[in-house]
């Protein structure tokens, strides 16, 4: 049994002028995370990657599907059980500044854990624990204690938050873009620290938009696109032998230091970009040579068909629009389930051992 099983998780959001429509941020996403494994969840904005992280942390309820941690469904947990769940599963978020209440000193993030989870520990015992947790994230206690958050650097702030998670008996850490706000010269140190924690048996879900970071740190990779999995598998396979056209175009677009962007089929790339943006605003005019060819339109439509349910080709297909009027907002779960089942995500096919790719239309 896997440590964490994500089982057909879907998330719908209200949308539209009067909240009348529904958009799917996630559609029947399923994958597992094993003990001591780093899984990177890679996606662009609007792919639903952060939503999935929040669902696992129980900060957002899923619309359908369930998440099981060591066999127990966490989506229904309440009170005591949820409290215990947080002993084992913790998160660190993107913006270190926003993760601290600016009115309190940094110590408070540790104090909250002390009060809630280890009230029986004396102050000295607790201080010893905090000390060793800080050591694990290579921080000097003197640098962080009794300071206000803004007196620490971004890297220190993120490390303190990881140390906070380590104080608990954490088995899974959800790291949502935790280094995207840090300076380049200190980023890799935080990554290396996560690698060190993984070696001590911590499972990590590393959520990022940056392919190179995901590639650097993870054992397995899940590429999320428009709320569905495009490709997933062992990281060397996904990056070394990408099969889904989306993964390929992403890899082609990543700016690299030693490889130029040249000789990459711009049509395909732009198609990927445009169908995310707004196909209604198709480029036109004879001069738009480079950025739009007439051959582009069919390619884009084909792609749109792949991600959109029939008859729903709206202007912004990044999220799936579902029919719904205001009075249908509070849809009963059987109806919701039916709706979702009627528009299943593309099927995943195992192309080689440990490498799954979504079937493209």
């Amino acid at each position: 049994m896997s440590m964490l099983e994500i089982d057909k998780v879907s998330k719908l959001y209200k949308s539209g002028t009067f909240g009348g429509g529904l958009k799917a941020a996630l559609r029947q996403v399923s994958f597992n995370i094993e003990r001591g494994e780093v899984v990177s969840l890679i996606g662009e904005s609007g792919s639903g990657k952060s939503t999935l992280g929040k669902i696992i942390l129980r900060l957002v309820p899923p619309s359908a599907g369930c998440v099981r941690f060591e066999g127990a469904d966490i989506t229904q947990m309440k009170g005591r059980a949820l409290h215990e769940y947080y002993r084992y599963v913790q998160g660190v978020f993107q913006d270190p500044f926003s993760s601290y209440n600016p009115l309190y000193k940094v110590d408070r993030v540790f104090d909250m854990v002390h009060q809630e989870f280890f009230p029986h520990l004396s102050g000295d015992e607790w201080a010893a624990r905090v000390g060793s947790a800080l050591e694990a994230v290579t921080l000097n206690p003197g640098d962080v204690f009794n300071k206000f958050p803004h007196q620490l650097s971004g890297g220190q702030q993120q490390r303190v938050l990881v140390a906070r998670a380590l104080l608990l008996d954490v088995k899974l850490l959800i790291a949502d873009e935790i280094i995207s706000m840090l300076d380049a010269s200190t980023r890799v140190d935080v990554l290396n620290m996560l690698v060190g924690l993984k070696k001590r048996g911590l499972g990590i879900l590393f959520i990022t938009h940056d392919l190179s970071l995901g590639n650097y740190i993870s054992d397995r990779t899940v590429i999320l696109r428009n709320g569905t999995i495009a490709e997933m598998g062992l990281t060397p396979l996904v990056f070394g032998n990408p099969r889904h056209s989306y993964t390929v175009s992403l890899l082609k677009a990543v700016p690299q230091l030693h490889k130029k962007w040249e000789d990459i089929d711009i049509d395909e790339l732009l198609a990927a970009e445009l169908d995310r943006e707004a196909p209604a605003l198709a480029p036109r005019g004879p001069e738009s040579r480079r950025y739009s060819k007439s051959s582009l339109a069919p390619a884009r439509q084909a792609r749109a068909k792949d991600i959109l349910p029939q008859g729903e080709q709206g202007p912004r297909p990044s999220l799936m629009d579902l029919p719904g009027a205001p009075w249908q907002r509070k849809m009963s779960s059987p109806r919701l389930a039916k709706l979702l089942l009627s528009q299943p995500p593309p099927e995943l096919v195992e192309v080689e051992e440990g490498h799954f790719v979504a079937v493209e239309g």
């Binding site: 500044f97 209440n101 206000f148």
Partner: protein
Amino acid sequence: MSANPGPARAAGSSTPAPVATGSPGEELDELPSAAPAPQGPGERLEKGALAGAQAAPVAPTPTLAAGAPAVRLGRQRWEFLHYALRNRKLVFGFSVELVFVLAAIFGPLAAPYSSAGDSSSAGVPLKDQCAAFFCASGMTTHPSAHHLLGMTYFGGDVLSIMLYSLRETYLVGFLGALFAGIIGLALGFTAGWRGGWLDDILQLFTNVVITMPALVLLIVIGAYVKIHSPLFEGIFIGATSWPWVARAVRAQTFTLRERDFVDLARLSGKGGVSIVLKDIAPNMASYLFLVFILLFSSSMLLSVSYDFLGLGPTNVVSLGDMMNSAMLWSALNLKAWWWFIPPGAAMALIVFGLLISNIGLDEVFNPKLRES
């Protein structure tokens, strides 16, 4: 309302500026000359109103001044004091307010004539009042050495009546703000934190109360119950003016709820009540303070207008009652300006002082306004 959680955070992210340039004392010395022009007529009234309360020191809240040398305070609070004492609008507004508050508290003790508890006849025996009533010319007297603000038609000393009235008006204003604040905060936090159907219901309720015409309601209630106490008036004002507090608090809670530190508190096993009280509310403390000040001035205005219309409590005198009786007994026709101008001007000054300090506070809390 420009205050938002931002200022608190930004304020925290800046180190305290070098310790106060001028001592609080200096600030105060500068004050009279720095005070804006409108003070001219106001000053006269102020002095008059103060005749019985000379003891009042013209200082901004002494607590602030006392706290200033204590550098060991939390940096936030220290920074706040630093900017608060340097903000002329705030110091001026608070000084005006302090003068009136002290007059309201201690004034009645020092009032030259004791009040019989009637808006028009303070300090005058009943038979004299009757005599006055039948005397065609009336007993209204110009301000004089004996009666600094003159006398009413019934021979009541206007200054004494005003000192009693101030107390009632402040009391009702405070009660109104308190009740509106309590109801607004409770409902706003609940709606903003819980969201969902509870929010829908509370929003509906809020909108219903907003559309309710308070004045008509008060007249209807007045037809059935005789309103005797300031407490009732305060509750009524509170019960009709909370909705916009609730709306603002709800909106602020909604934005703060999305901040990562709230998620972190949830991951730390904190319950909803604790998060709202310890993480959300303190981050809008400056905003709530501003809201309370505005509420205070609006409930005083409301109470004065209700009293002026004769819908207020019957067993006390307030500024509104004074103006009401001045109108009833044709003070305007008798050209007895000293009967209605002092209460009106006092009311205007009180509200003006509060609004000015509100602007000042906004500048103190909001680093963006502070910079310029």
